[in-house]
């Protein structure tokens, strides 16, 4: 499967009384998407945080909602590197319905690289090398 794509099934918990997925859940799905994307790139976020003392807080988040996701639908989250700075990365997302390919949303999250002391740091070389390849 495409290492950029993660599939997530819409839970009953995700729906609201309009019978569609509540809008904040898209940010959760984007989290799941980028986690799997980084894992597939060989830089799992859990290890980054635990072993390298690097945290990727969210500085900005944006979602453009195109179409509704419904209970039991499978959402395909495509993640990609939208911008790579010296000390930050912007990850872009395209969410679509796996069955019919319908686009559900696009968006991005912007993440500074921060150490546990809360200081913004340059992206370490081994991580930068991986992310740069993705920008091509």
């Amino acid at each position: 499967m495409d290492p950029k794509i993660t599939e997530i099934r819409v839970r009953y918990a995700d729906t609201d009384q309009m019978s569609v997925a509540y809008y904040a859940n898209y940010l959760v799905w984007m989290e799941v998407g980028r986690t799997e994307y980084l894992r597939n790139l060989g830089i799992p976020y859990r290890d980054m945080e635990r072993d390298d003392d690097i945290i990727l807080p969210v500085k900005e988040a944006f979602v453009d909602y195109k179409s509704s996701a419904r209970y039991d639908d499978v959402v395909a989250v495509k993640s990609y590197i939208a911008e790579l700075g010296r000390a930050s990365v912007k990850i872009g997302y395209e969410l679509s319905n796996k069955d019919d390919g319908r686009l559900l949303a696009t968006g991005y999250t912007l993440h500074p690289f921060v150490n546990r002391a809360g200081k913004i740091i340059r992206i370490p070389e081994k991580i930068r090398a991986v992310l740069e390849k993705e920008c091509l």
Copy 2:
């Protein structure tokens, strides 16, 4: 109290392992903020949806995270009309820590007016009158 401001206490459920509120919760707090704001303006969203057959789905959502919210903090959500279109409204938000006034985030949500059949409609006059006053 300022009718634009709603106070929300950060729940344990809202925190994540960085000991701050998880980023998707800000969209939930913005929902709570705009619900109370509309109620204070005399146009409760529950009645709009139930009696007037008007739905305000979210077309776009944006958050700029400035500072962390922590467990048991009280978040003051200030909502305002950022833009008023013929068939849509953009609501702006400023979230701050009630105790020390620290700005936590700014953001907006963009909402088309839609009827239950899913068709975009012009903003009804009685609602427009209320929202226009808020733009002054």
Copy 3:
């Protein structure tokens, strides 16, 4: 794979400031577990609700927490029929850590069969036949 078992990865969103999964998430995982279990039994809940007009609200929920789930862990949810009544089913769960087999929690949910009008109904024969086989 065992049709009773569903695997769910712990999301950052699921964690709290104790660095473990927040306790209410176990009920969400149990929902995911029983949904996949019913699907594997050939009686998908989405179809039940949409086509057969049958709803399975939750009457009781119980969780006995044994051990913590952490970020990025894979939780294996095992679901089974604990009791089968004329108009209700009790589903039992065992949640464990997929990697080391550690038991995370046991629990159950009790569901009456209800039609969309809200009336409790006997379990339809074709569904009963499937569930009875699971009780053996």
Copy 4:
């Protein structure tokens, strides 16, 4: 107001496609209820965790759902000490609709007293004194 009672408004985020509050949210409301209850007793949980190094994880949780909560309803959560052990406390809950008094759910959570090292400890005297008074 009764120090045992906390009021919580049902959010759009809390609803599901049955137009009622999703069942896991009751555990979140119980968390909010017990937090405010402890605060009103003069033993705020935040201070307990931060200053006294005491954690109250959840060992068991039980909910008996009686009636549905709907969007924008105000839920009154009544908390009380159901059992007081040497090293644990069972907190009981009654959730009702504030407007019409309808009972929504009853339930409990069982909490061992644990220090940050993860060891179960006796309930400190100053906390026990407060909780015992509540058992009368």
